[in-house]
């Protein structure tokens, strides 16, 4: 097995009497695309926030990029990238300005930013749009740009929170081309989604139900284990036992 970059043991988060994340444990390996599935309210976002150093676990332990989630939240933040559910670039700034800003946030030098900008624009085929305001781009392009921005500083791990909401399957497939490229470079991809076609693209997936991880493995393993022809079937079977309201 290759190097472990995310390791979580008995991670729990309570808000008052409500246990949002209940005793979850798993490992993620370098360069892997790890799908984090679950219905709305299953605790995906809460778990992800703990891994990103945004909130402290109530109990349990874990490391991300080699740093303790309890004590080294600030260090974790420097080694990860993050793309939020809502499209989150600055719409009133140009493509190049957005890249420059996020490069600056992660402490990249002006030279590095310049070189990397050329690279990214070339890769996305967006050289023409360098000086266009982001709000003038179609949603699919914005999402690709947001992903490139999230990995602009070459983080070890990138967290994607439902990155492809609101676009069609063809656009999602294009988006995933970029995810594969990043994973080939050694960037570990941790992605939440509720599109089952996307789940099939992942190396391994975990399915969360009511704050617990009820299944984990490669898509093929899971389909085989639960005797289903596709991921949709696996997901429906597991989510049926949910007692939480969606």
């Amino acid at each position: 097995m290759s190097e472990i970059v995310i390791s979580v043991r008995n991670l729990t988060k309570r808000f008052g009497h409500f246990t949002a994340v209940n005793n979850i444990s798993f490992d993620v390996y370098r360069g892997e695309i790890f799908g984090f599935l679950g219905a709305n309210g299953a605790g995906k976002t809460t778990a992800m926030r703990m891994l990103c150093g945004l909130s402290y676990p109530t109990s349990g332990s874990g490391t991300v990029a080699g740093f303790d989630v309890m004590r080294k939240g600030e260090m974790i933040k420097r080694h990860i990238g993050y793309m939020s559910q809502r499209f989150s670039l600055y719409e009133d700034m140009t493509v190049a300005e957005n890249l420059r800003l996020f490069g600056g946030i992660y402490g990249m030098s002006r030279n590095e930013i310049k070189k990397k900008t050329e690279l990214v624009l070339n890769e996305l085929g967006m050289e023409q749009q360098r000086d266009s305001l982001v709000k003038s781009l179609p949603l699919g392009w914005k999402q690709k740009l947001a992903f490139s921005t999230a990995i602009f500083h070459e983080p070890g791990i990138v967290f994607l929170d439902e990155p492809t909401g609101g676009v069609d399957a063809a656009t999602r497939r294009q988006f995933w081309q970029h995810i594969y490229k990043a994973a080939e470079r050694g960037i570990t991809v941790f992605v939440t989604t509720h599109y089952m076609d996307e789940a099939e693209y992942c190396d391994r997936i975990s399915i969360m139900v009511d704050g617990k991880i009820s299944a984990i493995g490669t898509p093929d393993e899971l389909k085989h284990k639960y005797q289903q022809s596709d991921m949709n079937g696996v997901f429906t079977l597991l989510a049926r036992n949910s007692t939480r309201n969606e």
Binding site: R30, K77, Y82, S88, L101, G104, I105, G156
Partner: protein, 382 residues
């Protein structure tokens, strides 16, 4: 990039560089939003001109009618004195007080000067002048009367004292200190400063932070290694600079266009204004903690800032004539202290020691609000 073992010492993002990147970004947001720019620069200029020229409480060509049965020399003199003053202009005469009243009722005149019959002949006996004024606006009505009275009394006195010894030297004399011409701009300019600065700083900061929350960009910033404090300060800097530009605009306009004197030291005026700007920025931060959308931020700002500033700061309604409870309440309105300090400095030209109380109160309020909002901001982010 990640072939070799993870380095132990990763480059720490330089705070200064990040800070500069943020200030640049924030300035772009402001400069590219035409509506914001319009509010930022249109509002101060419009308000200054409005309050300076259109909304005046000082008198200007009040329509006057004269009621007299005999046009003798004395009445003639009084009438021309009134007409010559910039405050009154004679629009007609009327045979009786009753008729003059109906003219006022028809809104064709604001004030009537009624001379008793054969005024000049009876001047040592029961000659009298009655002033009828439209007091539907009590403040204005009172002002008409006072102005008219002083002109009439002055004219008659100078007329009769010519050649005669002064019989009754007037015991009471009024001297309008600091604002001898009673110009309303003197009163309004400090008020507008108090209102505009808080409006721009507090409203704009709270809306711009709320916008980041609304659009989801705040989440991305919080996952980044940037300290929340840096984000906040970087947000405040462009607005602070803008406020200084606006302050300079207001002061220049009031000095050159509205002829408001800047009697006190500019240094104190600017210094206290900077404290006030800082206070407004912290208020904006506090509001942004409560509001998750731009609209909420806007409404809260308007509710907790604009209304008290207009009603309870002494800008328009004098604090001295409010009920006691409201007077106490005005003590927590920062604009009250700022406006009071500005009036003293700009119009009365006192030295800094006389506004020490206001300054200390403003500093105290700033520290309090800043502490609360920074604390709240931190806990919210966890």
């Amino acid at each position: 990039m990640s072939k070799d073992k993870q380095k132990d010492i990763t480059p720490k993002p330089q705070t200064w560089k990040t800070f500069r990147a943020f200030v640049l970004k924030e300035s772009k947001h402001i400069l590219r939003d035409r509506r914001t720019m319009l509010i930022l620069f249109g509002l101060p200029v419009t308000l200054m001109l409005l309050f300076g020229f259109a909304i005046r409480t000082d008198l200007n060509d009040v329509r006057t009618i004269v009621v007299t049965s005999s046009m003798d020399e004395t009445t003639q003199r009084v009438i021309s004195a009134l007409d010559a003053s910039p405050y009154f202009s004679i629009v007609g005469t009327s045979p009786s007080g009753r008729e003059a009243e109906s003219v006022i009722r028809k809104q064709e005149a604001d004030i009537a000067i009624v001379f008793s019959p054969r005024f000049a002949d009876n001047r040592y006996r029961d000659a009298s002048v009655q002033i009828l004024t439209d007091a539907s606006d009590p403040n204005m009505g009172q002002q008409y009367a006072i102005y008219a009275q002083s002109i009439i009394a002055g004219t008659i006195e100078s007329l009769y004292n010519k050649g005669y010894p002064v019989e009754t030297p007037s015991l009471v004399s009024t001297n309008m200190l600091f604002n001898p011409q009673m110009l309303s701009a003197y009163n309004f300019v400090p008020g507008i400063m108090g209102m505009l600065l808080i409006l721009i700083c507090a409203m704009m900061t709270s809306v711009s932070i709320a916008r980041e929350k609304e659009r989801g960009t705040m989440e991305v910033l919080l996952v980044s290694p940037v300290q929340p404090l840096v984000i906040i300060i970087a947000k405040a800097v462009p607005y602070m600079l803008l406020s200084i530009v606006i302050l300079a605009t207001i002061l220049t306009m009031s000095f050159f266009v509205l002829d408001v004197p800047l009697e006190g030291s500019i240094l104190s005026i600017v210094g206290i204004s900077l404290i006030y700007i800082l206070l407004a920025l912290s208020l904006g931060l506090l509001v942004s903690n409560l509001a998750n959308s731009q609209l909420t931020a806007l409404l809260i700002s308007a509710m907790i800032m604009l209304l008290p500033v207009i009603m309870l700061s002494g800008m328009i309604f004098p604090i001295e004539s409010m009920p006691k409870i409201l007077q106490w309440f005005t003590a927590i309105v920062p604009a009250r202290w700022y406006i009071s300090a500005m009036r003293k400095l700009m119009i009365m030209g006192v030295s800094f020691t006389y506004v020490l109380k206001e300054t200390l109160i403003l500093i105290g309020m700033t520290l309090l609000i800043l502490t609360i909002s920074l604390k709240k901001f931190k806990t919210r982010m966890e």
